[in-house]
């Protein structure tokens, strides 16, 4: 397998882009990433998207996105793994370049959440779950996270307010991220007061769904020796699945897919999970951030919430997470989230994260989950040293 580097990155602000269409949103990220990569001509486009086939009534979206971006004639396909679609598309892009079949691949994540409104959109997102046996019982992704959280509170008895640390950290980090949806800090009082969505889950335990697009250009290092910014190498990239339905798991509090993808991605990179400078984990729900930390081995089972207590997770802590606000404060553009995470980690590894810069960041672990880690994709990214 060939060495693969991220040569260019681009993203749009996350938010409610009422006046921007699905295709134009994607184009903005593509244009930025291609410029950043010095104008390399991609031979393939791999698109991460979750909702368009339902909410925008658009199939073969990758064809449309590539076509609209003036990339006629290239290979293009959509990769779907619910809210892990972005990471799945990145993984496919990595495979294409590493295999030698494609020299320059464009990976795009785009989500146009605001194309549909109300209960219909809630139903569209719920399709990440087992339709016959979960969705048909009236379950939503938030309610499913609440089921996990309720059980976690019952089994491990952490203080209920322990979960506040995750949204508080995300919002604090987003204040200085110009691409974030919510650039304001939240207080513990605001967390305690927040509306209950599905008990015990509160509004601030849930990352808000939003529109956004992010893109990266993948290639081999020798093609991009003279770019004016550092390169980021992809040292590991592995996906794993658990049961799709939460109820089918012997232990719903063990994110098995997250565990396996971290272990194998680190093995691929030749490192231990602890040998990273930051961990861009998936905080679609605060409980999932806790379980991801436990699955990756950064905390014992039932103890993940204590890491926040010890302030280990801040920008200057020993394991910074959600460094640009995570899904909670940057916004959760679902099928694009996995690409945003890669772009954010690349900013850190290139030393371009500004006020959010993690000091001496050289290696990052990036993980994107579908639902309650029904699918998990983990990448190990590293600042490329010539």
């Amino acid at each position: 397998m060939r060495e693969v580097v991220i040569a260019g990155i681009g993203m749009t602000p996350v938010g409610e882009h009422w006046d921007i269409s699905l295709r134009s949103l994607a184009y903005r990220a593509i244009r930025a990433a291609r410029q950043d990569a010095g104008g390399l001509q991609p031979q393939a486009l791999y698109l991460g998207n979750f909702l368009a086939i339902d909410s925008s009534h658009q199939a073969n979206l990758a064809c449309l996105i590539a076509d609209n971006a003036g990339l006629g004639g290239i290979e293009a396909m959509t990769v779907e793994a619910a809210d892990a679609s972005g990471a799945a598309a990145f993984h496919v892009g990595y495979l294409a370049v590493a295999s030698g079949l494609v020299d320059v691949a464009l990976v795009v994540g785009v989500e146009k959440y605001t194309d549909a409104l109300g209960p219909e959109q809630e139903s569209a997102v719920a399709q990440a779950m087992d339709y016959d046996y979960e969705v048909m019982q009236g379950l939503t992704l938030a309610a499913q996270a609440a089921l996990v959280m309720q059980r976690y509170l019952y089994e491990y008895r952490p203080p209920r307010e322990a979960f506040a640390a995750f949204p508080l950290l995300a919002h604090a980090n987003a204040v200085t991220n110009p691409y974030a949806m919510y650039r304001r800090a939240v207080t513990p009082e605001a967390y305690a007061r927040a509306e209950i969505i599905a008990d015990p889950l509160r509004l601030l335990d849930m990352a808000p769904y939003a529109d956004g697009a992010a893109a990266v250009v993948l290639t081999t290092p020798e093609r991009v020796r003279d770019l004016p910014h550092p390169l980021v190498a992809v040292r590991g990239s592995i996906g794993a699945i658990d049961t799709l339905a939460l109820h089918d798991r012997p232990d719903p509090l063990a994110f098995e897919a997250a565990y396996h993808s971290v272990q194998r991605a680190c093995e691929m990179a030749g490192i231990a999970p602890g040998e990273v400078d930051l961990f861009e984990l998936d905080d679609a729900f605060s409980i999932y951030a806790v379980l991801s930390l436990e699955a990756a081995g950064f905390a014992e089972r039932g103890q993940g919430w204590r890491l926040a207590e010890q302030e280990a997770l801040g920008l200057r802590g020993r394991l910074p997470i959600l460094t640009l606000g995570g899904s909670k404060a940057r916004g959760n553009p679902l099928g694009a989230t996995g690409v945003y995470q890669v772009v954010e980690a690349a900013l850190q590894l290139r030393g371009e994260a500004g006020a959010n810069q993690v000091p001496h960041a050289r290696r990052a672990l990036v993980q994107n989950l579908a639902g309650p880690a029904s699918s998990a994709f983990t990448h190990v990214l590293e600042r490329y040293a010539v």
């Binding site: 046996y133 089921l147 309720q150 059980r151 889950l201 089918d248």
Partner: protein
Amino acid sequence: MEIPRHWRLRQQRYALVGEVCPHCEEKIFPPRDVCPYCGNEAKTQFTFSGRGTVFSFTTLTEAPAGFEQTAPYTVALVKLEEGPVVTAQLTDLGDRPVEIGMPVEMVTRKIRAEDEERGVIIYGYKFRPVLTETQ
């Protein structure tokens, strides 16, 4: 209209008809083509008793399309006495607080209508607090 996909599952939905693995004898619900315990094909029908306990639960106020008419409602993970866990709504709760470990029993109820006035009505399993201890 999505009649076939619901019609196909009517026995599972109305009466918790799942499977027993002919190889390892584990009980399976919802039915699967491959037994998750031993990896062999599982095709023998088995009707569950409908008795179980609450493993986890939550009450939703923001319902997805098709469920708005019955919100707020409570969804639970119910551990069946034969082993499997199912996702299902709890019903007939009244003012009773739900607790993890609470014994529940299956009832067949309206899940939702495809369209409130004109569509096919979809029925299926829900669970309620056990009515009497003597059964």
